[in-house]
Amino acid sequence: MYRNLTIRQKQIVWAWAFLALPVLFYCVIRFYPTGNAIVISFQDWNLLGDRTWAGLENYRKLAADPVFWQVFRNTFVYLLLGTPVSLVISFVIAYHLDKTRFMHGFLRMLYFLPFMTSAVAMAWVWRWFYQPVPIGLFNNALASVGVPQFPFLRSTTWALPSILAPAVWAGLGFQIIIFMAGLRAIPRSYYEAARIDGVSTWTVLWEITLPLLKPTIVFIVVFSSIGFLRIFDHVFNMTSQNPGGPLNSTKPLVLMIYQTAFSSFDMGYAAAQTVVLFLVLLVVSLLQLRILRDR
């Protein structure tokens, strides 16, 4: 039967034979669960008891939950601190690294190495750094020069930036490499023309380099924003005796989802939170693409 088919028909058979298993996978492991999460978000279900329809109850509960608003705020603080800080640092390093010839590969390796580490492992290392005297490295260093102790993870004000630091640190290497690729893609003739015109380095940076780097900047902003909005590993592992503490001051949305679903087993409520996360990611990415592309 196969022999009687035309070449075009044979191609269709082959294509669907190749796609059969993957299409099944995407339906069962991606699309069905997405729909399922949305359905569960309208139900009341604690995993052991019955599933009952709750309508918008979970969303109403969310809007009235002060912890949720604290968590929502924290999530955006991670985003609004993390994205600009890592963007500026990685650009400055990439810009200068790009102009450095001597031991270029070695320097690049130093900056890229943290990207290859595991977040959980490095969360432990940083957590050790942040401990009070006589354990923590930072406080020991401060003590040795006579500066008073810094609370780091124990302060409701400083715990969040302290957790953000290793997250920014781990991502810098990737952003630097992407920035350098973007910088190398700018045609040299632009710079040569600017040099002939005697334009200052600063003007070249603002008028040539940055505008031509816009696609790279858009990519890095969107990519790193998604990462900061979904922060979890660092928070969970640096505050593990009281995840998200002290006093929920470091708790991001993903951690709240994890606790609601797998500590309280309130599946409906947790599913509603995941829908909110999905919407936040969608809106933030679309807004960024819009704003950055138009300018």
């Binding site: 269709i12 190749f18 991606r30 569960i40 390093i93 977040a119 979904r230």
Partner: protein
């Protein structure tokens, strides 16, 4: 074709240090020194992790980077305990199988979407691409329920199944198969190869750099994956390295030199791989970053 060459050229130029050599002046010297100090600062956490893992307990809180009497006692202790050994093996098995699966399926799907013309092609492509927008966290609850129903909790399959194929990998491979000339495929067809043979023996070898980039990303991602393995495993023997490390929870009764040893065990393999294949990996990051 042109796009890949361009990216290859960009990533190659990243790796070479051509360009006019000017005599070093004070400005360049300052720039180099600052960059060097910044780089040293970047690797400090890793250096302290390794250094502490080689220290005796009484030396741990000493700020010195070089241990006075280096010891591998911590490693012997941690590995003899057995747990880290198991977690290492689990992580290795899971990351390896997931990587192989992604390399196989993502490129098969990418190739099909790129080189075949068939009804439904566009819909399948858009459908797969749209899954990029769905965050993993939205799927963990349904995945957990599914695993519970089918008895996948606390098994390798349970840890692996969500990541066996990725839209990112499929999209990456599709982009790269665009660079394989249709004439090659046509010629192979005339030679009497079937479509499976054409994909595997003609097209796949031509996109090897992309396959390597994909493999590196998937392996690193699964080696360090945390939230899903944390949810799906219950018994200590099924933990992966990150889940095992995080299970030490309370810092009050933590022996920091042993934790640092555990952290080093879970980080060193990827660092060593990076140091060996540095050029290759950086090129892969650029390709994946710009294409994906």
């Amino acid at each position: 074709m042109a796009a890949t060459d361009e990216i290859r050229a960009t990533s190659d130029s990243l790796l070479t240090t051509e360009g006019p050599r000017r005599p070093a002046n004070a400005g360049q010297l300052t720039r180099w020194t600052l960059l060097f100090l910044g780089g040293v600062l970047m690797v400090m956490p890793i250096a302290y992790m390794i250094s502490t893992s080689l220290k005796w307990p009484h030396e741990v809180y000493n700020l010195k980077l070089i241990p006075e009497e280096p010891t591998i006692e911590n490693y012997t202790y941690v590995l003899e305990d057995g747990r880290f050994y198991w977690w290492f093996v689990n992580s290795l098995i899971i990351a390896t199988i997931t990587t192989l699966s992604n390399v196989f399926f993502d490129s098969l799907v990418g190739y099909t979407l790129c080189k075949f013309r068939f009804p439904g092609r566009y819909i399948v492509f858009i459908a797969i691409l749209s899954t990029l927008m769905i965050p993993t966290e939205m799927l963990v609850i349904p995945w957990y329920l599914m695993s519970q129903q089918f008895g996948w909790l606390d098994t390798y399959w349970g840890i692996m199944f969500p990541g066996l194929m990725t839209a990112f990998g499929t999209f990456l491979m599709k982009q790269f198969f665009e660079t394989v000339p249709d004439d090659f495929i046509e010629a192979a067809r005339i030679d009497g190869l079937n479509e499976l043979q054409i994909w595997w023996t003609v097209a796949m070898p031509l996109v090897r750099p992309a396959l390597a980039a994909l493999a590196i990303f998937v392996f690193l991602g699964n080696w360090t994956a945390f939230i899903w393995p944390l949810i799906v495993t219950n018994s200590v023997e099924m933990y992966t390295l990150p889940v095992g490390l995080s299970s030490f929870g309370d810092e009050a009764d933590v022996a920091w030199e042993l934790i640092m040893t555990g952290a080093a065990i879970s980080t060193l393999p990827t660092l060593v791989v990076f140091l060996i294949f540095q050029r290759f990996i950086i090129r892969g990051v650029v390709m994946a970053g710009l294409k994906g």
